[in-house]
Symmetry: C2
Subunit: 385 residues, 2 copies
C-alpha cells in the first residue's frame, strides 16, 4: 500500500495484480490495491464528503496510477442516467445545421452534459431523411434538429425521455419546440425588397404545390416562409403567381439551376442586351426585380448563376436569403439575409432540456410544453442595396 516510485507507468501492478494485458482496471481492483472497501474508494473518487482527506488523496493517487476509469455502462445502469444529451441533426454538411450542432454542443457541454450528435439517415431510395429509432437508449434527453418531423415521430424516438424539436413545430402541442421565425422573417425580407424598389418578385425554392391561400394548412419551413412572402407582397399589390415561384432543392446546385432558368426567362421576356457588357436591362429599368431565396444556400447558388448570366446584382435583381450563414458576408456581392440568432437559440433550448431532464429524474412534473421562436434580424448587404 505504500506509494510506489514509478509515477507514470499506468498499469503498474501495485500488489498482486495479475499481469493480464487486456485487463481493464475495475473498482474492485483499486479497492484491493488500496486496502479499502469498494464503497470508500467509490466515495473518495467521486468526492463524497464521507472520506477523510488523507485517504481520499491516497486513493485518488493510486487509482490514477492504475489507470482506473469508471465503467460507464455500470454507472449508467445504477444511476439511470448517462449525463449525455443526444442531438439529432439532419445533415452535417448543411451549414445551417452544422451551426446549430456547434452551439447546441457548446451549450450542453457548458452545462456539464456530454453530447452525442448523430445524423438522421437517408432512406434507401428516396431522398427523404429518416429517423431510425435505435435500439439502446442511453441518452438522458434528445434534441431533434429535424425540419419536417411530426410530433408522433418525436414521441416514438424519445421513448419517454425529455425531447425538444428544432424545426417546423406549428402544430406541436405536447413536445417542446423551437421554431424558426419563418413567417415574420420572410415577411420582413419581402418588405425589405419592396422598400428597395422591387415591384416584381420571384421566390426561389418554392415548389408549385405549396398553397398560397390564407386558409390552407401551412406546415413546414418552406410553405410558411413562402406564404408569409406572398401575404406581405400582396399588401403592396405585388402578386406571386405560379410564374413567380421557381422550385428548386435547397442546395447550391438547386439555387444555381433555378436562377439560371430565371435569368434565361428574364432575358427572353423583357431584356435588351446591351452591346459590349452583355448585361441585362429590364424593361422596367427603374425597378429592379426582387429575388427571395428561401435559404442562404439557394441564394449563394443563385448569385453565382446571375454572375454567369450577366445579370447584375443588385442593379438588375436584388437578392435576399434566409439563415444568416457566415459565408454570406463574404460572397461577391455580399448576401442580404434573414439571420437567425443561433447561439441565443441554443442557450434557450439546452436550458429547457436540462430543466426537463432534472424534473423528470426528480419526479417533479414539468410545466407546460415550451414553444419558442429563434430570434432573428434582417441583415441588408450588397445583394439588395
Amino acid at each position: 500500500m505504500q506509494s510506489s516510485q514509478n509515477g507514470v507507468d499506468a498499469a503498474a501492478p501495485t500488489t498482486t495484480e495479475p499481469a493480464d494485458p487486456n485487463h481493464v482496471v475495475t473498482l474492485a481492483d483499486v479497492a484491493r490495491a488500496t486496502g479499502f472497501s469498494q464503497m470508500t474508494v467509490s466515495n473518495a473518487l467521486r468526492d463524497r464528503p464521507k472520506v477523510s482527506e488523507a485517504n481520499r488523496r491516497k486513493i485518488k493517487e493510486i487509482a490514477q496510477r492504475m489507470g482506473y476509469q469508471a465503467n460507464a455502462a455500470a454507472t449508467m445502469l445504477r444511476n439511470r442516467r448517462s449525463g449525455i444529451i443526444q442531438i439529432v441533426i439532419d445533415d452535417f454538411e448543411v451549414p445551417f445545421h452544422a451551426s446549430l450542432a456547434k452551439y447546441l454542443a457548446q451549450e450542453a457541454t457548458a452545462r456539464g452534459y456530454q453530447v452525442a450528435v448523430r445524423q438522421s439517415e437517408r432512406s434507401g431510395s428516396a431522398e427523404m431523411r429518416v429517423l431510425k429509432t435505435e435500439r439502446g437508449l442511453i441518452y438522458d434527453g434528445v434534441i431533434l434538429d429535424a425540419p419536417n418531423i411530426t410530433e408522433s415521430q418525436v414521441l416514438a424516438h424519445a421513448h419517454g425521455r425529455p425531447a425538444l424539436v428544432i424545426g417546423d413545430c406549428a402544430d406541436f402541442s405536447a413536445v417542446d419546440s423551437m421554431d424558426t421565425a419563418c413567417a415574420p422573417g420572410a415577411a420582413d425580407a419581402a418588405e425589405h425588397l419592396w422598400e428597395r424598389g422591387c415591384r416584381e418578385c420571384y421566390v426561389l425554392g418554392a415548389p408549385a404545390h405549396w398553397p398560397t391561400d390564407e386558409t390552407a394548412h401551412r406546415t413546414g419551413f418552406g410553405p410558411r416562409r413562402f406564404a408569409a412572402i406572398v401575404d406581405a407582397l400582396a399588401g403592396h399589390g405585388v402578386r406571386i403567381d405560379d410564374d413567380h415561384r421557381i422550385p428548386c432543392d435547397w442546395t447550391l446546385e438547386g439555387g444555381h439551376a433555378a436562377a439560371a432558368r430565371l435569368a434565361a426567362r428574364l432575358r427572353e421576356a423583357h431584356a435588351v442586351p446591351v452591346a459590349g457588357d452583355g448585361s441585362v436591362q429590364t424593361a422596367t429599368a427603374t425597378s429592379p426585380i426582387g429575388i427571395l431565396c428561401l435559404t442562404d444556400t439557394v441564394a449563394l447558388g443563385a448569385l453565382r448563376a446571375f454572375a454567369e448570366c450577366g445579370v447584375r446584382v443588385p442593379d438588375d435583381v436584388r437578392v435576399i436569403g434566409f439563415d444568416g450563414l457566415a459565408i454570406g458576408e463574404y460572397a461577391v456581392p455580399s448576401l442580404s439575409t434573414v439571420a437567425m440568432d443561433v447561439p441565443a437559440m441554443a442557450a434557450t433550448v439546452v436550458a429547457r432540456l436540462a430543466a426537463a431532464i432534472e424534473a423528470q429524474s426528480s419526479g417533479a412534473p414539468l410545466p407546460d410544453a415550451m414553444h419558442e421562436t429563434i430570434p432573428y434580424r434582417l441583415v441588408a448587404r450588397e445583394s439588395s442595396r
Copy 2:
C-alpha cells in the same frame, strides 16, 4: 394475452401491469406478461435459433405492444460493447470538418455501428482546441478528426480502445492514422500556378515562425503544406521569403484580412491605378501573381477582399485553395482547389476501425498500424484560369 384492438397505444397494460406512468418496461416485465422465462424472451427478441417460431412471434408481438426497449446500459455492461463509434471533430462549423463528420457517420452507420459525434472544446482563455478526456467510456472505438493532436494525447483519450486519427500524423507510429496529402497536394497547387504563368507567389495562412528549410521538423498541416510549396516553387527559381507569406487565421475573416493587406501592399509596391475602372496593373503586366491559400476558407475570404479592392482574379492574381469545399464551385469567380476525396477516405477509415474493434474483442492481435493518405486531385477553376 389476446391480441388487443388498439394497434398504436404502446403502453397499454396487458395483464397486471401496475399503472405506474414512469415505469420503463423491462425484460422481466415482458417475461411475466408472456409467461415465458427471461431467457426465452431474450432469445426470441434477439432472433436466437433456440426458440420455436410460434413463440418467437408471440413474444415479439407482446414486447412490441408493451413498448419494450432493451436497456442499453445493461446490455453494454454484459456484452462489453456498445456498438457505438465515437467521432471527435474539431469544429462542426468548419465546412471541411463537417464534411468529414458526414461521411464518417454515413460509413459507420452502413456498417451497423451507431455514431456519436462530439466537438473538442475550446480551452478557457486560449483559442486552442482541447480534448477533455471524459469519464465514461462507452464507445467501442474512436475516430479523432484532430489536426494537431499528439500520439500520446490520442492514447490517453482512447484508453485502450481502438483509435484512429485523421490529421497530421507524420510522426505517428503506434496509432492508426489518415493524413491529408499535404505535401504533394500543396506542391501540385504551386506547380499549377507556375504553369498558369505566376512568377511571383504569396502564401496566405502561413505564420512567420514556420520553418522553410529542408531539415526542420515539419509537423502540422500548415507547416507541411507551406514547406512543400516553398520547395516546389524553389525548383522554378521562385522564392517565398518572409514578405511572401501572409499569416492569418484559417477562417473567412482571416483570409479576408490577409488579402486586404496584401492588396494594399501590391497597390503601393508596383501598381499603376488605371483611371475609371480602378483595377490594379502589376508592374509585370504579363505575369499574374500567384496566391496560394492554405485552406479554401482562407481563399474564399481572400476572393472577397480582392473583389473589394479592385484586384482582378484571375487577371491580376491567380488564387488556389486547399480542401475542395463545395461552395468553392459557386464562388465568384469559382475557386481552384486541391480537393480531398472525403468519401473515399471515410470508407477506408471506418473499415479499418471496424476491423480493429473486431480484432480486439476477439482477442486477435492487430496487424501493424495503418498510415494512409487522403486521396486528392487538383481542380482548376476560374480563379486560376
